[in-house]
């Protein structure tokens, strides 16, 4: 195999990973949008009452979590454009979001949990791509 072929192969692989990375981000954002649309359309009074019961955060913590969640979503814009700050935001907000669930009272497994699991699988994929693949060199 010539040097040119090897370099070409590496270039193609890098492009494939970039496409995959973009698809994962789009998939994640679509999942978030679907989840919110679903609950806006079909969320009943029961759902609202039950979520009040399940997530017993104080107002201050709730506000902090909303800020973290928004930052998390904004961070995807930077990730999509391969900005280093996006990686930091992603890692920080992911940790806060995952470990904040320690304080949940209890959670019923259902559609929201199903979507949450899919989102986490996508996040795991994104995490591997941005920290452990060739793509990490493309961030600046």
């Amino acid at each position: 195999m010539t040097e040119y072929t090897l370099k070409k192969k590496e270039f193609v692989k890098n492009n494939e990973q970039k496409t995959l990375f973009h698809r994962l981000i789009i998939g994640y954002i679509s999942c978030v949008c679907f989840e919110y649309l679903f609950f806006l359309m079909f969320g009943t009074e029961n759902t609202n009452n039950s979520s009040k019961f399940y997530f017993e955060y104080s107002k201050g913590v709730n506000f902090f979590m909303i800020i973290v969640y928004l930052t998390h979503l904004v961070g995807f814009y930077f990730l999509y454009n391969f900005k280093n700050i996006g990686r930091l935001i992603f890692l920080f907000t992911l940790n806060v979001m995952v470990f904040s669930s320690f304080f949940y009272n209890l959670d019923v497994i259902g559609l929201s949990h199903f979507l949450y699991n899919i989102r986490l699988i996508l996040l795991g994929g994104i995490l591997i791509l941005i920290y452990f693949s060739d793509l990490r060199k493309d961030f600046n």
Binding site: K13, E16, F102, L106, D107, G110, I121, G124, G125, I126
Partner: protein, 141 residues
């Protein structure tokens, strides 16, 4: 010379990915064990009571399916660890199966289980990406 360097680089990358992949499998297995131990010995009374009530509604077939999926998932960890091709299919199948089951089986988690479940899913996502979309996929035989 350049050709040699590029090939060496690729080999290094494959071995790096292999190490990471094995670590992810071990962590995922450990999280699974911790979850099982927590569920059986340390789960809060409130959650335990609700789950006991919910599990009464499970049919025998549903219980058998859950049991089979858990066994298949555990077996897939071993096959993935030794880079057997069958492991990729088993892992994907059991992961999708468990995901779909959450839609139909009512159950309740407390905070710790919820966090452990989240960590396990993130690790599974990493495993999926490594085994299907990196140069590791040619290592499975």
């Amino acid at each position: 010379m350049m050709e040699y360097i590029l090939k060496k680089k690729e080999q290094n990358q494959v071995s790096e990915h292999k190490d990471l992949f094995k670590k992810l499998i071990i962590y995922n297995f450990l999280v699974f064990i911790v979850t099982v131990i927590y569920t059986f010995f340390f789960q809060s009374k409130q959650v335990e009571n609700i789950n006991e009530y919910l599990f009464k509604n499970y049919s025998t077939i549903e219980t058998v399916i859950i049991f089979i999926l858990v066994i298949v998932h555990l077996m897939s960890f071993y096959f993935l660890f030794v880079f057997k091709k069958i492991g990729t299919s088993l892992f994907t199948f059991s992961l999708i199966g468990v995901l779909i089951l959450t839609l139909f089986q009512p159950a309740v988690f407390d905070g710790v289980e919820y966090t452990l479940d989240a960590i396990s899913n993130i690790l599974s996502g990493g495993i999926l990406i490594l085994m299907y979309f990196t140069n590791l996929n040619s290592e499975f035989k």
